[in-house]
């Protein structure tokens, strides 16, 4: 377990001279508080930690240009230098230091009399305990810092109350899945799989690798990989353009609002904004659903089989088999039909020149029926599995289409309302207003245009990924058949067994982790009784976190900001519990969004959730840190610091409270 013993700040922004903060490492008194009023340096304190560990100040935009404290800067004489430094001491007891991180930068006065950083003076060093319990210099301070506080999962130990409440609002599924993966080091598993695949190829001798089948498939795979990469770049560019259009729209929207002075315009604008938000939300949801409908295919269901065609094929094979006649080219026949129809079950386009068609054709040529016949005869388990998978797929897809239809209906209604509002607004005669409004509409149409394009490119990437996956599977199969050298073969088999195991584990681990984190989140969230309407929290198969009421309706969107923050906090803590990640938690603005009525429950919940975990709360004096909170946290308080902005002085005073 790692705890922060103390933090030293020297001349960093509002902290003039040396300032030392001692934090409690006791399991009973595990809550530490740093509170400040506006401009006192609460956010700067967190930036100081981030700068020390990762060399980055997340709130730099809000801070003054120079990192050097103004008073220290004013006192700096020519030819002298002054340091800005942050030190973080880690350990379990004050006299037992386990690690020290120190970052410093030196400032000097240049020829123009301006105080600037000395080029190349920024130094980051770390001391860590070696096997003999001696503190030694770490060979690479950044690696040491990332070991204790991994930057990648910074948001999972540096909680930002402002952002927590919206954590699940956007990209819910991606964020949930990524948080689980990151926290449990699933990237190690991903890397092991990729590395195993790469190494195992070396056991196929060079000569064998020149097999025309492999060369052709490799060409397809690399072609698809390039295409996916190009499309991803294109998607990124579109996303940037979309964001720019949104910024333009927001700016014009703001202008329109300040400009508007005519009575009913304000009301109409508000209505328009509301329905535009609704329309954007619906469009986004439709795109998400369109994307998701293919996801089930990615999870192992063969992509080229049509249910009806496959059933026909099985019937024919059975008939021929029962009559003792050798099965003819039923499979080829089936694939021909598929090509003739031009579409397969996932509605993948099989037109001339399409990558999917090339794949199906390649499959037809290289997989004669005779190769599959024994398998089919052996109880047709593979086919049964495929059929089951396809049935599930059809069911799920039906659901998706239903949901998409519903959303499209809602979108249609919303658009009609918007048209009505627009007409009403057009009837208002105000030149400047109309001019900004028209620019605003243009920005909006641009935004929508890019949204649609992003959706299209996203779908297309999905389809390419499917095809690539198919080719890769085929490649593995061919490779297995190619190895001729016995020793090479055995080694390949070791890789293959490990690979199959890891791939299966990858799937099952995520399911297990998801279930466990779901249970923990429920336990923690329910303890705080933040929302009695929520019966349980679920993480769906697609990793969407939902708050279900007693009728199993997802009411996440109806939760208040405070409740959403509570839910995200519960989720983060559940992740920590499950992963064994034990760094201290730095919790900024934890109570600001919590309703005063439920605040005491939330603090109690935090006490339960964070039993024994060292927490440093960064609170706003008064609103978040009043007598009520002091009394409630009293039994768990380790240390309390106040950052007090001094009047007429460019610094904050650090006051330690008893």
């Amino acid at each position: 377990m790692t705890k922060i013993l103390n933090i030293n700040m020297e001349n960093y922004r509002p902290f003039y001279g040396n300032n030392k903060f001692d934090f409690s490492t006791s399991d009973d008194k595990n809550f530490n508080v740093v509170f400040a009023g506006t401009g006192g340096g609460k956010t700067t304190f967190l930036d100081a930690i981030s700068w020390c560990l990762f060399g980055k100040e997340p709130h730099k935009d809000l801070l003054t240009e120079s990192m050097l404290n103004d008073i220290a800067e004013a006192e700096l004489k020519n030819e002298n230098t002054v340091d800005v430094a942050i030190e973080i001491f880690l350990g379990l007891k004050q006299d037992e230091i386990d690690g020290i991180f120190r970052r410093k930068i030196t400032f000097f006065k240049n020829n123009q009399g301006k105080v600037v950083p000395l080029p190349g003076s920024e130094r980051f060093s770390a001391k860590i305990k070696d096997g003999r319990n001696n503190l030694i210099d770490a060979a690479d301070a950044s690696i040491a810092a990332n070991f204790v506080f991994p930057e990648k999962i910074q948001h999972l130990f540096m909680f930002d109350g402002e952002k927590l409440e919206t954590f699940f609002d956007t990209d819910n599924m991606k964020k949930t899945e990524n948080a689980i993966k990151d926290m449990t080091h699933m990237d190690q598993l991903d890397n092991a799989i990729a590395h195993l695949k790469s190494v195992s190829r070396e056991f196929v001798s060079k000569k064998d690798r020149e097999d025309p089948q492999l060369t052709e498939i490799d060409a397809y795979i690399s072609g698809l990989a390039n295409r996916i990469e190009d499309k991803q770049i294109k998607k990124k560019e579109l996303e940037i353009k979309q964001e720019e259009a949104k910024v333009r729209f927001d700016t014009l929207d703001e202008q329109l609002r300040t400009l508007n002075s005519k009575g009913d315009l304000e009301g109409l604008l508000k209505e328009q904004k509301k329905y535009e938000d609704q329309r954007n939300g619906l469009t986004k949801k439709i795109m998400e659903l369109e994307n998701q409908k293919f996801d089930h295919l990615l999870k192992g269901i063969p992509t080229i089989f049509c249910k009806k065609e496959l059933e026909d094929a099985i019937k024919k094979i059975n008939k021929k088999y029962e009559s003792g006649e050798l099965p003819p080219d039923v499979k080829v026949e089936f694939i021909n039909k598929l090509l003739l129809k031009g579409r397969c079950i996932c509605h993948t386009d099989l037109t001339e020149g399409s990558s999917a068609r090339k794949y199906v054709e390649a499959y037809k040529n290289k997989a004669p029926l005779s190769q599959f016949e024994p398998d089919i005869r052996k109880g047709q388990s593979e086919i049964t599995f495929m059929l089951k998978g396809i049935s599930v797929f059809f069911e799920r897809r039906k659901d998706f289409y239903q949901q998409i239809d519903e959303k499209k209906d809602q979108l249609f209604e919303t658009q009609q309302i918007l048209e009505k509002i627009t007409k009403q607004m057009e009837s208002i005669d105000d030149k400047e207003f109309q001019s900004i409004k028209s620019s605003r509409s243009f920005a909006l149409s641009e935004y929508q245009k890019y949204s649609t394009k992003i959706g299209e490119v996203g779908n297309s990437i999905h389809e390419d990924e499917l095809s690539k996956l198919g080719f890769e599977k085929e490649r593995q199969k061919i490779e297995r058949n190619l190895i001729k050298n016995e020793e090479m073969k055995k080694k390949f088999e070791i890789c293959d067994a490990a690979l199959v195991f890891l791939q299966e584990s990858q799937k099952s681990l995520l399911i297990e982790l998801k279930a466990d984190i779901e249970t923990w989140t429920n336990e923690i969230f329910n303890k705080s009784i933040l929302e009695p309407r929520v019966e349980r929290i679920v993480i769906t198969e697609d990793f969407e976190l939902q708050a279900l009421d007693f009728e199993s309706e997802n009411i996440y969107d109806e939760l208040s900001k405070g409740q959403k923050q509570g839910l995200a906090t519960a989720f983060m803590i559940a992740l920590r519990k499950d992963s064994g990640f034990d760094s201290p938690i730095l919790f900024d603005y934890p109570l600001g969004r919590i309703d005063p009525d439920t605040r005491s429950e939330f603090i109690n919940a935090l006490k339960n959730m964070l039993n024994g975990v060292q927490v440093i709360f960064f609170l706003i004096g008064g609103t978040e840190w009043s007598n009520a909170e002091k009394i409630q946290m009293k039994d768990r308080l380790g240390s309390v610091y106040e950052l007090k902005k001094l009047k007429n002085e460019k610094r904050s005073e650090v006051i330690q409270h008893a």
Partner: protein
């Protein structure tokens, strides 16, 4: 310096039906993956581990 290896995965490996040398191989490659800042050196390390697993299996007469 190493990150923690996913404990669940380790348990899965231990309780799997895989042969002991393959289990050991898997554990070792996960150890390799948990090393921070050593990306790009995997190929040789993996091959060494495969070699070890192969020899262990050979010694256990698995290939006779």
């Amino acid at each position: 310096m190493k990150n923690k290896v996913n404990q669940r995965l380790l348990k899965k490996i231990i309780s799997s039906d895989l042969e002991d040398p393959v289990k050991k191989f898997l554990k070792n490659i996960l150890e390799i993956e948990s090393e921070i800042g050593k990306g790009g050196q995997f190929s040789e390390k993996y091959k060494t581990e495969i070699e070890k697993a192969y020899l262990l299996l050979k010694r256990s007469n698995k290939y006779d």
